[in-house]
């Protein structure tokens, strides 16, 4: 427990932790500030009414066109009721409304026979693409909770940098050797670091995203509306933050493991961020067969409650079909983090410190 406490103190005493969180907070304040100046307050109820009309019309159109699928046991009216606006702000420059019909609606272009029926905790569906074409001056946007998962990807990258630095700095300054003069059981040392790092990084991610959420909710208060927001919205929002925090912690541990393997911060950061950069190209081109297993895709799916899909040969060439759900995506992220962490543990136990 002493070692665990020491590692927690170290994480929260590091300059890079606070500098990173400070920069992130500044960027968030700037972004939301820009949002404030680009939006106007809305008349109570008007935004909801307009958005509702638009949303319902869009869904009606989808149903009429045969694009929308009704969940089993749900009538058309019930389905349309699900599409009520819950959150909106008005964009004065572009004269369009940012609105949200759900907080966790899965987007999928899976129209195969094996497609997954629309499901989400709210039972609602986010529409993003078609509405923009159908309506000239309105464009549906990611809801608040869709923005949070998007931003959380950036925090996963930050977790990578912090995790790699947390361990790499130990090798750079030689303190890992000094630490073993106080606690020579190496497995205990590294596992404690993993646990402390996971919890600290998850907490940091939660704090940062909560800060952003607070700013956005404040923006919604002054230039938007909470009409239609119910308890489910808040619960799901908290769940998004929770999953983002877990993902942040796992990325931290993965980066720690790789930094331990390389004994170097930059090598670990380069390896992971390099993968982030090239992975999309690889899984969409050279390694399509492993798309559904890829780290970034699963991390994004886990946080945003998405559904990684895989490619299959269909009637019109390659089509995509749902592969697994967001919880399974979380397991994939866990495996991605665990593999380097375990390899690092083995090496850490065997290596001479010279």
């Amino acid at each position: 427990m002493n070692l665990f406490r020491t590692e927690l103190v170290r994480f929260w005493s590091r300059r890079i932790t606070w500098v990173t969180l400070g920069v992130a907070a500044a960027v968030m304040i700037l972004g939301v500030g820009i949002g404030f100046f680009r939006t106007d307050a809305v008349e109570p109820g008007s935004a909801v009414v307009e958005a509702d009309e638009f949303c319902v019309a869009s869904f009606q159109q989808d149903i009429d066109d045969g694009f929308a699928q009704l969940p089993p046991g749900v009538s058309e009216d019930e389905y349309l009721d699900m599409a009520r606006t819950q959150f909106c702000v008005f964009d004065q420059d572009n004269d369009r409304r940012f609105w949200a019909v759900s907080i966790l609606g899965p987007e999928s272009s899976d129209w195969s026979e094996n497609r997954r029926m629309w499901e989400s905790p709210t039972g609602m569906v986010t529409i993003t693409d078609r509405s923009g074409r159908d309506v000239e001056y309105r464009e549906s946007r990611e809801p608040l909770s869709g923005l949070i998962p998007g931003v959380s990807i950036a925090f996963l990258l930050i977790s990578v940098v912090l995790g790699a630095s947390f361990m790499g700095a130990e090798y750079r300054s030689g303190t890992v050797e000094n630490l073993l003069l106080w606690e020579p059981r190496r497995s205990r040392v590294l596992l404690t670091k993993y646990v402390a790092g996971f919890l600290s990084s998850a907490t940091a991610t939660a704090l940062a995203l909560s800060f952003l959420t607070g700013l956005l909710l404040l923006l919604a208060r002054v230039h938007g509306t909470y009409e239609g927001v119910d308890g489910r919205f808040w619960i799901d929002l908290v769940l998004v933050l929770f999953r983002a925090s877990i993902a942040g912690g796992l990325m931290f541990v993965m980066a720690m493991g790789i930094a331990t393997i390389f004994k170097h911060t930059t090598a670990a950061v380069g390896a992971i961020l390099g993968w982030f950069v090239v992975s999309n190209v690889l899984v969409e081109w050279l390694l399509r067969f492993m798309r559904q297993h890829e780290l970034v895709i699963n991390a994004a799916a886990f946080v945003g409650e998405g559904e990684p899909f895989r490619y299959v040969e269909g009637m019109w060439g390659q089509q995509v079909v749902y592969h697994h759900g967001y919880l399974a995506a979380g397991v994939y992220v866990l495996i991605w983090a665990a593999v380097p962490a375990i390899i690092a543990l083995v090496l850490f136990n065997r290596r001479d410190l010279t």
Binding site: N2, S13, S173, E177, N178, L181, E183, P184, D352, L353
Partner: protein, 318 residues
């Protein structure tokens, strides 16, 4: 102070190293850094560990502390086999290995709190250690802002944090100014006086000679000599250096030579004689009886340095 340290006589040997061997993989094959090394330290005192660069001193210390896995051999510290139970005794061992290693952006005080916290030590122990090494007033400065000497002092403070029974110091005087070296020397002696065991490696032979009770000399990974410093010094040759009145030197050389002693005229009325301190008065009498009066006569003992150089075959800086 630990109970054992208070009594001054530990129940078990402080350090027992048997057949220690360490090989490293090199580009040209396996490199033997330590070869069948035996060390035995029965109790309290200051034990010097001498060897030229690359002789295996630091590798040995790393093996002692579990930082390096020995290829073969056994290490027992404070009666515990370190390959299995180092964690049982680590809180009674303070160690400084090579350069001081701390978090550069943390203050000296915070660094000590961090490491002390691992074994549950509080602020009191930290402040005591800082005061012991004279860093109390600079404790809030970041480690990176410290001079090399201050860093070294902080490392020594860290070794003292645990109030250890066994202290292992690898080149503790590195980077210290003369005053700092004197302080470290006093500190080491005072630690030994408290009943602790100090195992100190150094290439500063003079320091070892002044500080240590016993010394082990290692070369190319092998222990080549060990024992009390005084005994080692006696191993070397002793000389009597004489200076005669002008014009009497040649006569003195003949007399001494006839007395069966090896003698060398060194020029300028100076003579050296291969003899020890016990022979000095007899030699003086011999010359005086022949009317040769000496301007000076002194015993020239070999230094540990010269012994060391003789044993290891090293020349120049170590």
């Amino acid at each position: 102070m630990t109970a054992s340290a208070m009594t001054g006589v530990p129940q078990t040997p402080v350090m027992e190293v048997r057949g220690l061997r360490k090989e490293f993989k090199g580009r040209s094959g396996r490199i033997v850094a330590i070869d069948n090394l035996d060390i035995s330290i029965p109790g309290a005192g200051v034990y010097g560990f001498l060897g030229p660069n690359g002789s295996g001193k630091t590798t040995t210390i790393r093996c002692l502390l579990g930082l390096i896995q020995p290829t073969s051999g056994s290490v027992e510290l404070l009666g515990t086999d370190t390959s299995k139970g180092l964690h049982h005794v680590i809180d009674r061992i303070g160690a400084l290995v090579e350069t001081p290693k701390f978090f550069p952006t943390f203050s000296g005080r915070k660094n000590l709190r961090m490491f002390g916290g691992v074994v549950g030590l509080g602020d009191e122990a930290v402040e005591k250690s800082l005061a012991t090494v004279g860093l109390a007033e600079r404790g809030e400065d970041t480690f990176s802002s410290y001079s090399l000497g201050m860093k070294q002092r902080l490392a020594v403070a860290a070794t003292l944090l645990k109030d250890p029974q066994l202290i292992i110091l690898d080149e503790p005087a590195n980077g210290l100014d003369p005053a700092g070296i004197v302080e470290i020397r006093r500190l080491i002696r005072s630690l030994a006086a408290e009943g602790r065991t100090v195992f100190v490696s150094s290439h500063q032979l003079g320091e070892v000679q002044q500080t240590c009770d016993n010394v082990m000399i290692i070369s190319k990974g092998r222990l080549i000599q060990s024992g009390p410093v005084s005994d080692l010094v006696m191993l070397g040759s002793q000389k009597l250096r004489l200076e005669t009145e002008p014009g009497q030197t040649d006569e003195a050389v003949v007399l001494i030579s006839n007395a069966g002693m090896a003698v060398h005229a060194e020029g300028g009325n100076r003579i050296s004689v291969e003899a020890g301190a016990d022979d000095a008065s007899g030699l003086n009498r011999l010359l005086a009886e022949s009317g040769i009066w000496l301007r000076s006569l002194h015993v020239d003992e070999s230094s540990l340095e010269s012994i060391f150089l003789e044993l290891t075959g090293q020349e120049g800086e170590l």
